[in-house]
Symmetry: C2
Amino acid sequence: SERQGQPPRDSPAPPPVPPGPSACRGPPVGGGFSRPAFLQLTSEELQRADDHAGRAVQSPRESRRRLPWSTGYAEVINAGKSQHNEDQACCEVVVVDRRCSPRCNPDLCFHYWGLFDGHAGSGAAVMASKLLHLHICDQLRDLVDILQDSSPPPLCLPSDSRALPAERNRAPLAQADAELRNDALPRFHLEKAVSHESLVIGAIENAFKRMDEQIERERTTRLVAGGCCALAVVYLLGKVYVANAGDSRAIIIRNGEIIPMSREFTPETERQRLQFLGFLRPELLGNEFTHLEFPRRIQHKELGKKMLYRDQNMNGWAYKRIEEDDLKFPLIYGEGKKARVMATIGVTRGLGDHDLKVYNSNIHIKPFLSCVPEVRVYDLTQYEHCPDDVLVLGTDGLWDVTNDREVADMVTEVLMSYEPNDPCRYTKAAYELVVRSRGALKERGWRLANDKLGSGDDISVFVIPLGGPGNYT
Amino acid sequence: SERQGQPPRDSPAPPPVPPGPSACRGPPVGGGFSRPAFLQLTSEELQRADDHAGRAVQSPRESRRRLPWSTGYAEVINAGKSQHNEDQACCEVVVVDRRCSPRCNPDLCFHYWGLFDGHAGSGAAVMASKLLHLHICDQLRDLVDILQDSSPPPLCLPSDSRALPAERNRAPLAQADAELRNDALPRFHLEKAVSHESLVIGAIENAFKRMDEQIERERTTRLVAGGCCALAVVYLLGKVYVANAGDSRAIIIRNGEIIPMSREFTPETERQRLQFLGFLRPELLGNEFTHLEFPRRIQHKELGKKMLYRDQNMNGWAYKRIEEDDLKFPLIYGEGKKARVMATIGVTRGLGDHDLKVYNSNIHIKPFLSCVPEVRVYDLTQYEHCPDDVLVLGTDGLWDVTNDREVADMVTEVLMSYEPNDPCRYTKAAYELVVRSRGALKERGWRLANDKLGSGDDISVFVIPLGGPGNYT
């Protein structure tokens, strides 16, 4: 069973928590440096993991307990851009303990993988890596019986939410009674059908919000610095939910084909949302920025000339006569990896960043950032997966230098060089992805096999098998 | 040449217009009933086109002048839901006369097709069908030389925008001189590359905005009632630009395959944009509506219970405790064709509707509607098209009862029954699409061949050939 692989660090089920908004306390989170618990690093190994010069790739030891599903993992620290590795990771099996006592269905349990790419400090990434799955657990608590009931979710629950789902499954008589009472309510013609799947999506979305709120509340007491991108995968009742807030990426490699499971949220991909907000709430721009986009800075002496621009409604470009207000700095500026919101941050979704301000100003950036992930769903039961079919999660350190096709080819190459039932093959694949994206240290810095510049960023990779012998039950 | 097919009604080039925001006057637009000019209906035929009982399908007569590219067209009036056919259409070849005098490039000319599906009166649809292409022409005027120059568009133009593009093409000496003067400007490292294509997209987007502003300005003097969806196609310099604002649809059928060229803008597809606006500007909800979505109306006695909801950030659903504020009517409500913004309108993009209010209230709906189209581009030169490859445009009357695949199969079936070089085959195809979507009048109303309910709505269809002998030069 999945619990043999790697039991959650603290207990298979999260500890009982008091109700209310701060339900997810979880284990204590220090402000200090840490690596994922499942690596089980000794303090000496922890020191070595912090070596920016050697950049040794870290993977779970074969001699120690395996991750659930024989998940592969590898990571490497950056080439010096920050003191510590600001990526964090988590892999857990979580049992959801229902809030109500009558147990009419089996326990609900989900598998969980998380990647957190920190910036401006590792505090938010560390905290999220230790707590986000507990928030997801908390959001699922009300749904334990509803999700395991074949009938559509009830649109409305009694104020004591414990009662209804349990009743519905108890005994035919009790159920008939409940239906009778239901009939006393007038029927509405317009009722929207809501799927079980969309309840899980809603639970994950709200878990991200609660996590962000907790970081905000505890950022001063727990010394949580900075922010982080978050990529979380939940496997629940046959379906894989991939939730992404930031610029990490998830792809499924199935029979050699690539199925994208996420998209990146950057100033370029979210331009129109940000410009719309700046347009509707100009006070957030602090008289320093304009919500219009221009292809370059405008000089004062260019007033009156015509410049290309686009506003929150446009995808194309047009010329406009330059006015005084256009001399402000554009809210979105720069291209590709250099694109920034308010000249400051290059990702537009994630957790934390509550104190982030424009340099030398009092303008907050958080209102423009979203903590809500996009959740994509993949039904694992709709396809018979072979041992080479995997879900790859990587922080942007991987994807900056290695595209989807190259990742898929590398993974397939490594997997084919090991026996299909060798549980180490997924960690070997993750290891190779990190090594090849980091490159080798040459005279002119870290270089890939093709002599292009390797990634100087932190790199973290999960390779999660979707099929194969006895991986999940 | 394309002009032989069907010269624009008034003149090949739009009449000279005074500069400024109301440049596009065009021909006079009455408040009365009208059908597309290219149908060349006599007043007697015009009467017959208005017959809700017989619902005769109208097409351009073979004996009269053909539309450019041998475009096929057909339309039918609704089964009684409004007094007149509120769909309108336009097909034109437009010559763009540059604002500047020196002519260094050939004239720029574009082909144009427009479908306008009116609601709450036909005024906006009639006006847009007569003027939108002139606004597009107006927006392209500054770009005549830029678009025909192989170098990237200049990011900045001198205040007298006539000078630069002309100069750049004049003589080597003048060009060198211009570059020298250019060098006097400091170089910027961060310059965004802007394509010619995106200038055309920007021109079309802004043309829709100007059209909407003109409807607003002249709605009282010209008696322009209601609003309309707008689907416009521009063929310019080898590329087809499909601009859609509303719930009409465009598909390309190529070698039997379907390529979607638009998407519909409805309360469901634009839910998050509308909820975001309602959340940021609650005063627009007039204390009557809530920006939250619920799957059904909530009753006062349900206060304190938990109800499924989603907010502007969510795609999934979750339970929330019902508070007083949740008893307000949801901003977005209903499903599929019945989904409405503020219980009033089922499309969220289009032109007009400036006076639209929630029934029996003073709450304006226009702030939630967008007049900006989504523009998709199809490069006609990238593929060798055969005479059966077509672009089909249809108002929702077509797509409500006939899906993409059925449309593609019907078109292919009709085209194959005529000679490939028969110029009438595209009108035959459009005719069949309209006839089969309308159905036949049976005892239980208009019925399709499969006995399902036919479309009781206005239906208008263009079938535009993308290849074939001598269709375009």
